[in-house]
Each structure stands twice: as structure tokens, then as C-alpha cells.
Symmetry: C2
Subunit: 237 residues, 2 copies
């Protein structure tokens, strides 16, 4: 079976690192679904405005092809939720490395723009890197899709949230940017999820990390139970 | 992007006609997910037993290729829920005819059988014809996937359920089959959803329909507000 992208995501997440591991975790971040020709026809999204959420089925396009289907399919993976040292079956996980690398995310619809020139859907809660190819868009139908009492093995609840603080110099840098309050909320929501690789997320990890968001490289590290933003640098060339 | 089936569904639904239009509507029907080589390794489903539900991403393989991608993509469809006479955008519907014909269903896990000879997952609530190719299996994660308060346009609630009754001769036929009580429950659950094509589901429709289930052709018609099972025939050659 052959699939081709019907849309592409424009999001402020510049790399995989820092992207929330499930959809709906960071509602503060907005993204745009841009429908591609020949699918960018206003009729194709007519009626979607009656729904609050939609499903995205997308291609995990940043998978290393060496690890992707055909060249390195692995029957077991190490989910971050298990600390990165316990393995589960790939079909018991939402890992991007899967036989068919198709992802699934439920996101909130904020606005739909549809005219002859472009068809775009503004969303929040996406867990998608900028440029992710979208294979399908479906309305979220709660009577079929919402099973709040489902039992969920090793992921029964959202991961714990860490407090996030800014150093004085990071705070000063923030204040010089557009919409500093909004950007602080976004950075806080993303880093509260502690994006460190699970195998390094121990207590003794003091190394510096960078999450690339919009045109900024957010430098941070773990500090006790908290996450500390060290500085905010423009992304270099 | 190229996808290949990782599994196939074995279900009692012999045709598209009669299959519930969403997953979870008919929990009385069980199906089996049979993993295909090289994906049929017990490790690939390890940990799935901790989850009560899973997502299936599957190929709408019975689409008429004339209407399928490339040869007849239509930007608007007529969902049964709108009586078959109002159109909505294909991306505002769950219709099988879509640019990439990938379906999405949440089903309940009943049991997992995994050994070196075969890997199978027994499920209920599937809305899949026997033989449907499965592209991916993912655990259902309620904290990300369950949005019970989502607003759902033209499909805010399950379709109304009709009473189902059996004629005396259908009842007599039923009693001669294996597990008549169980089969009656299954037939009742399926027909209560009134599988008639939406454009014919008016009050004046008295024609006879057949739903093929297991090795039986269940003959039925609408009778007032109810559905009446007329007879139960073996599927002919």
C-alpha cells in the first residue's frame, strides 16, 4: 500500500528533542496543518468546524532509515516511561520506530482557514516536529474514540510535571523578545515534562541540554527536582 | 511512503454491509488479530497485556479502486449520519473513501496468545470485515487519547438503537444452530444499528436485506420502528 502526504505540519518544534511524547500534553503550543495540492480544497474540510478535536495520522519522517522498516525493525523498544532500561513490544508502545512508521495524535482545532488560495487548520496540543508529513485527518468522535476508563499498562497517567525556573540572565533575555509572557508559558510547559532521554534522566545528570523552539535554542539543565532555564540563544547558522 | 500489512483480521463479518460504522458499537462480536511474518514474534506484543484497549490502523482494502486514491478521490462524502443526502468534507468524516485509505478503530483486548508458532490477539468491538489488513497496533493511552467532552459536529452521540425481533421461522432456525442465545445477541446488536444504506433508510423502505455473519446470511427488513429477522440461511456457494 502506497501513501502520500495530504498535508504538512508547521510547528515551532525544530527538532525531535523537546517534542512532547504524546499529544495534548502541551496545549500552549500552536501549529498549522497546511493541506497540500490536490487536497487543499475548501470542500475537503467542510463540516470540520463542528468538531473540537481531530486525529492526525502522520509519518514519523525523522526516523533514522537504518532503524526504519526493512532495514532494522526491532520487535522490542525501551519506552521513556519505563526509565529507558526496560523493554516492551513495539506494538505495546507508541514509539516512532515501528514496522509501519505511522503516528497517531489527537489535537484541538483552534481555527480553520479555507479559501481557493490555501486550506489551513490551526491546532494546539500537537506533538509534531515542524515539517511532519500528514497522511490523514479525521474528526474525533468521542462516543467511539473516548475510553476514559481504559487500563493503560505502564502509562496509566501523564508523566509527573517538574517545576521550571529561569536564571536571572535567561529572564533578562526573555524580556527582550516578543511576547515574553507567552513564550515563558510555552517553555515552562515543554520543559516541565523533562524531555531528557530516559536513560539519562537520573538524579546525577547535570549536563546542559538545548530545546529548539521557533528561532530560539532554549538552554536548560536539571537542578534538584526542578528544571532551570540557563539562557535563550538565537539558533545559529 | 510504502506500508505493508503487519497483521490480518479474522472476523465473522463477511461483507462490508452490516459492519458497524464505528468501533465499540457491537462488543458482542469477537475477532482475532493474526500477526503476519516477520512481525509474529511474541516479543512484539510483550506488555500489551497491561492494556485494556488498542488502536488498529488498517487498510480499507475493499474500497472500489475506481473510487480510491489516484483514480477517483472525492473532496466531499455523504455520511450515513446525515441521512446520506448531505455532504461534508472527506477530512470531516470517517468515510473509507479517503486520499490515504487508512482506518482507525479502538477495540477491547480480550486475550493475547503468543508463542513461537503464532501471535494472535482476541478482541471485541471491531468494525472490520474478515481479512482486513492491519498496518499498525498501538496501545490505547487514555490520558492522551480519551477526550470525552470533545464536541463532535454531526456525530455527537451513537446512532439510535432499533428494537430487533425474530419471526417464528427465524427463531426456529436459530434454535437449530450452535449457541443460539449468543448468536441472537450478536444479530440483535448488529441489526439494532440499522445497517441500511442511509439513502434508503426512510420510513417506506420495506425491502429485504441480508447481513452475512459467520456462515449465515441473516435476512431481515424494517418493520415499523423495529427490525425484523425473517430467516437465517446458510451462505450459498
Amino acid at each position: 500500500m502506497q501513501c502520500e502526504p495530504i498535508a504538512v505540519i508547521r510547528s515551532p518544534y525544530r527538532d525531535k528533542f523537546g517534542v512532547p511524547r504524546q499529544s495534548g500534553m502541551v496545549e500552549e503550543i500552536e501549529a498549522i496543518i497546511q493541506l497540500l495540492p490536490p487536497y487543499n480544497r475548501p470542500e475537503a474540510v467542510e463540516g470540520l468546524e463542528g468538531f473540537s478535536h481531530l486525529w492526525l495520522q502522520f509519518h514519523f519522517h525523522l526516523n533514522d532509515p537504518q532503524r526504519d522498516r526493512g532495514e532494522g525493525w526491532q520487535p522490542m523498544v525501551r519506552p521513556p516511561r519505563l526509565g529507558g532500561n526496560r523493554k516492551v513490544g513495539v506494538f505495546a508502545s507508541r514509539a516512532p520506530f515501528r514496522p509501519n512508521p505511522i503516528g497517531l495524535s489527537a489535537v484541538r482545532i483552534l481555527a480553520i482557514h479555507a479559501d481557493a488560495a490555501r486550506v489551513e487548520i490551526r491546532i494546539s496540543g500537537a506533538d509534531l516536529v515542524d515539517g511532519t508529513p500528514i497522511l490523514d485527518i479525521k474528526p474525533y468522535i468521542p462516543y467511539a474514540d473516548a475510553i476514559p476508563d481504559a487500563r493503560a499498562g505502564f502509562a496509566p497517567a501523564p508523566p509527573p510535571s517538574r517545576p521550571v525556573r529561569f536564571t536571572a540572565s535567561a529572564e533578562a533575555q526573555l524580556q527582550q523578545l516578543d511576547q515574553p509572557r507567552h513564550l515563558r508559558q510555552q517553555i515552562t510547559a515543554i520543559l516541565a515534562l523533562d524531555p531528557r532521554p530516559a536513560y539519562r534522566a537520573g538524579d546525577d545528570d547535570n549536563r546542559e541540554y538545548g530545546v529548539r523552539l521557533y528561532q530560539w535554542d532554549i538552554r536548560w539543565r536539571r537542578a534538584g527536582e526542578a528544571i532551570e532555564v540557563i539562557e535563550i540563544l538565537p539558533i545559529g547558522d
